[in-house]
Symmetry: C2
Subunit: 245 residues, 2 copies
DNA sequence: TGTACATCAGTGAACGCGCGTTCACTGATGTAC
DNA sequence: TGTACATCAGTGAACGCGCGTTCACTGATGTAC
């Protein structure tokens, strides 16, 4: 056995067909939905037999878990990239960019979005110990951006936003401590509120609930993203100016 | 053939086993999710054979469509009942009651909620001409309540809420005319915004996305429902007073 | 009131399908001496 | 450099399962005269 230097030829082949399996699976999910994912169909598309897949994944659930993890990472990476596309001190535009990226990722990968945040697959139960840290990473992008805004003194929830009740504050504080967040409790509050509001619009959109009466949601989404920021006390004039130019 | 007086014995038996089929199907959906719905399993639970079900539904899709319709009706009825539980001129409490009922129905019937607003079943495409009017009925409860509030002069979105852009207003107007709503365009705007915000919280909750870090969502939901109303310009003091008493 | 007939509910067998997973196996790829 | 061996990728057959749907059928329920 080689002590872990660079991967052998065989090893790299292994990981590359493993990647290919996941690629094909993702494509299948994108077309048919996650519930219709089939090992045999994947094998067929790869011109292999189904049992060969067991060299790469313990079973179907194992593959699904891997898909969920990569979907989460792709999602988190997209959010981070959006944030970093704006200058580091321009918090308003960072937040706005994150909000837009949230939606555009979901539109580009609707089935992955649903795989992550939506309906679980019939016989499948995601192992929380693997799934949860990944979910946290996405959430953290939002939390970090809000925290940075807060630190810069550009967040003023108190002026426009209701104070959480003591009971709610206690919950948020518990969360804050358990996960060791440096952000203030109110930042966590805004993060969870913001998340739920983006999710509400995005999930209804990708499930075509708006279509019959509104058609395109572009305008509504921008409107709501800005509105959300305003309610957080963020000055959005820089965003609107940039948008026009 | 009898001219349509009261239903014959046979007819009433027919509708009653039809109802039983749907009942069993609903139970199955509640336990396993809509994607796992199986005609054979339904028949088994009813101590029948599967082909007998074809006396009552053309095929599986036909059953699913019927389930969707009844789910929508149950949902809309619950919202209406909540509204009517408050006195007719107390618009604030009516809106609040609707918001609470929205969530509690979803919690009581999570799989039905997802059947209606969420992931479609793999091979199934809901016939829009049947599904859409039902969806409209639920939406109309919210719209009507907001319109009544507006007519009473208790809605003041302009003061706290961003004006929709001209493009968005045009979309909303198109919708308003196409469906013949008497409510103002801004009421439709508030309805769709309110819906998406309730949906965001509720759908994340029933998919257990909040659980790892927040546990119970009760406080957050109440907080957000009130916040939403405040942003619409509704005076919520009557609601909070009532809550305490 | 009784008889002949039509309608309907439900059965049981069968069709054809696809699925996840196991197993013993063949060849190829890599490793050790 | 060559040979013996171990490891791994992938095959093909099979198991056992469940599914939606069709078909010809049996009995029961209702209807007309």
């Amino acid at each position: 056995m080689k002590h872990n230097s660079e991967p052998t030829r065989r090893e790299s082949r292994h990981t590359s067909t493993r990647d290919e399996i996941m690629e094909v699976a993702r494509k299948q999910i994108a077309e048919q939905g996650a519930a219709a994912l089939s090992l045999r169909e994947i094998a067929r598309q790869m011109r292999m037999t189904a049992p060969a897949l067991y060299r790469y994944f313990k079973d179907r659930d194992d593959l699904v878990t891997a898909l969920i993890v990569t979907a989460f990472r792709s999602f988190a990476d997209t959010l981070k990239a959006a944030r970093d596309s704006q200058s580091a001190d321009d918090h308003a535009n960072q937040l706005f960019a994150i909000a837009l990226a949230y939606r555009s990722w979901a539109r580009a990968h609707p089935q992955d979005y649903m795989l992550i945040f939506g309906t679980p697959i019939p016989g499948y139960k995601a192992p929380a110990e693997i799934t949860q840290p990944e979910a946290k990473c996405s959430m953290d992008v939002l939390i970090d951006a809000l925290e940075a805004t807060d630190t810069a003194g550009e967040l003023d929830p108190a002026s426009t936003y209701a104070k959480p009740s003591p009971a709610l504050l206690a919950q948020l504080n518990h969360w804050r401590k358990e996960f060791g967040y440096s952000a203030s409790t109110i930042v966590l509050y805004l993060a969870v509120v913001g998340w739920s509001r983006l999710h509400g619009l995005v999930s209804l959109e990708i499930e075509n609930q708006f279509e019959p009466f509104l058609g395109d949601i572009d305008e509504l989404y921008r409107n709501q993203a800005l509105e959300l920021m305003k309610q957080f006390g963020v000055d959005t004039t820089a965003v609107t100016r940039k948008k026009k130019s």
